[in-house]
């Protein structure tokens, strides 16, 4: 499993980012630009895993960066990486749950097909349907459990997960076990007759 370098910046650089240029509440333009460019693709990939739609993923990723920019830095303890991934994944999960309530997953299958159809249309249909099922199962998990699973599947280490989700590093393994069990349970509840997990 590839482990991402979350920040793309070393600690000294992060320190500079955390040192606002006015009233402890804003970024320098250059620091934010670098941070944005270095994290955008990875963050939007995390968001896409949850919402399954490129346009929506871009919209939510944009929103997360916008909120980060407007977020007071809060001194040296503020961790912009953790904040960003936590906020973006939560936005995405809230969106996913709202979509689930509105029953729009079926529409997504169609749009996913249009966006990423491969050489074999049948495979593409089956894959899109499978992804829809997985997202439906994720939508009924507790948000923190869904965040944990998605970020881990995106390659986050225990330490990075702990930083991103504001949990103790020593509790990550146990949380993962519980989250996966909850996911298997919700998946089986939804698709137990059709799928083996």
């Amino acid at each position: 499993m590839d482990v991402p370098v979350l920040a793309g910046l070393n600690e000294a650089e992060l320190g500079n980012i955390n040192r606002p240029d006015r009233a402890s509440s804003s970024w320098t333009e250059e620091a934010f630009r670098r941070f944005f460019l270095e994290n955008y693709a990875r963050l939007s990939a995390v968001v896409f895993r949850i919402v399954g739609d490129y346009s929506r993923a871009e919209e939510l990723t944009d929103e997360a960066f916008w909120r980060l920019y407007r977020q007071p830095c809060g001194g040296n303890t503020f961790n912009p990486n953790g904040w960003l991934y936590r906020t973006a994944s939560r936005l995405a999960i809230d969106s996913l749950r709202a979509e689930a309530r509105r029953g729009r997953f079926e529409q997504e299958v169609g749009s996913s097909l249009l966006a990423g159809s491969g050489p074999n249309p049948l495979d593409a249909v089956l894959e899109a349907e499978r992804c829809t099922q997985v997202r439906k199962a994720l939508a009924i998990l507790r948000p923190l459990q869904a965040q944990l699973l998605i970020l881990r599947a995106s390659g986050f280490s225990y330490q990075e997960l702990a930083a991103a989700l504001n949990v103790k590093p020593g509790s990550v393994g146990t949380r993962l076990i519980r989250a996966e069990a909850a996911f298997r349970k919700s998946y089986m509840k939804l698709y137990g007759n059709k799928e083996e997990l």
Partner: protein
């Protein structure tokens, strides 16, 4: 050596064990068939789940440069105007009347606040609502104990309320000047109190609620008011609430989770020694918006009747109310009383709970000044609230 914990096995599978722990674990695994079997089972499940979740990965990565252009364009258009959630922009541009705030707020009371356990009503109100003036409506809230109603309300909140901007955990700061800087308005303190308060700044929060006639009707029915008819015209109407940053100051011996705890949670059920605790809340007015076609006064009359008022009482109360600017605070009729108080140069409301089991009554003194709702909440009698209010910075 004792058998390995699930956490240790999981860390082995994920290659997250410290070297020393991994060596110890491997030695144990070499001797323990049970642990080997558990490791195999966990490993199989982890791989299966991982494979399924891996199928969600995007086929392409998004280019960051165009996204940064969008960000800069947004910065140029919105600049340093007060932050407003993107999801709500359309909503507010269509319905820019802040006066609707009180109306929407009132509708939210109907569903979110009025049915909460009496013990937590002040926290809910303070967390949700801020307007220009305050009025109090005593209601018969005996249906708080009706678990069917609570469950219906819980489901409505869970299914129909979308948090578009979460406040997150409060950030605690060292003094009022830091709180002022973070919150964006002048934070006040009690000048005559020697001890330093614990000051928490709660982040912005936004909610969107979709109204569902059948669910609201089910709530009303569960209270036994089957004669009340929730209009079908509310179906699908959206109410949006945006609450700016707010500040809570704790003086004295306060329970840790005084703010933000959920209605009916274990924290609230446990008796706690909060004598001497005074909570001072400073909360700017929210921006709330509802569709013009939503008849909130009608909804509120229904809610008042559901709360035990006769149709005539509800009509009279509603006709006297300035819907556009008044925060309506429902209080349990049998457990509380209230009076008007001159405080901080304006007229506020002093709500006092009944004394029970030898405990001093709880009080809440609440008023609105210059767009900020202030509330002093504690136990020990209303004199304390009056005295504290006179010492505000």
């Amino acid at each position: 050596m004792k058998c390995l914990t699930d956490q240790t096995l999981r860390a082995l599978i994920d290659q997250e064990s410290p070297n020393l722990e991994r060596e110890d674990a491997n030695r144990h695994l070499a001797q323990c068939a049970d642990c080997r079997s558990r490791l195999q089972r966990m490993s199989r499940e982890t791989v299966q789940t991982g494979d399924i979740l891996a199928s969600l990965a995007p086929r392409k990565l998004t280019e960051p440069a165009p996204a940064f252009d969008r960000f800069q364009a947004r910065l140029a258009s919105e600049g340093n105007a007060p932050a407003r959630p993107r999801f709500l922009r359309g909503f507010f541009s269509v319905h820019p009347l802040p006066a609707w705030g009180a109306l929407a707020t009132t509708a939210l009371i109907v569903v979110l606040v009025m049915f909460a356990p009496a013990r937590s009503w002040t926290q809910h109100v303070l967390a949700m609502l801020r307007v220009e003036k305050v009025t109090v409506v005593p209601l018969d809230l005996k249906f708080d104990k009706n678990s069917d109603t609570q469950e219906l309300v819980r489901k409505v909140i869970s299914d129909e309320v979308t948090v578009t901007l979460s406040a997150g955990k409060p950030q605690f700061v060292g003094d009022a000047s830091q709180a002022t800087q973070m919150a964006g308005f002048p934070v006040r303190t009690f000048t005559d109190v020697k001890e330093s308060p614990k000051i928490g700044v709660v982040g912005e929060q936004s909610y969107v609620m979709k109204l569902d006639q059948s669910r609201l009707q089910a709530i009303v029915d569960s209270i036994g008011k089957t004669d009340l008819q929730v209009p079908e015209s509310i179906n699908g109407q959206m109410i949006a609430v945006h609450i700016p940053k707010s500040v809570f100051l704790r003086y004295g011996n306060c329970p840790e989770k005084h703010t933000g705890s959920k209605a009916g949670s274990e924290d609230q059920k446990k008796p706690s020694d909060s004598s001497g605790c005074v909570m001072f809340a400073e909360v700017p007015s929210p921006v709330v918006s509802v569709p013009h076609e939503l008849n909130v006064p009608q909804l509120f009359q229904i809610a008042l009747q559901a709360g035990g008022m006769s149709p005539e009482e509800a009509r009279t109360f509603a006709s006297k109310l300035d819907w556009k600017s008044t925060l309506v605070v429902p209080i349990p009729r049998r457990a509380s009383s209230y009076s008007e108080e001159q405080v901080d140069g304006v007229t506020g409301k002093l709500i006092t709970g009944r004394q029970s089991r030898g405990q001093p009554p709880e009080y809440t003194l609440i008023w609105v000044k210059k767009g900020i709702i202030y509330s002093i909440h504690g136990s020990g009698g209303p004199e304390q609230a009056r005295a504290l209010a006179k010492t505000l910075s």
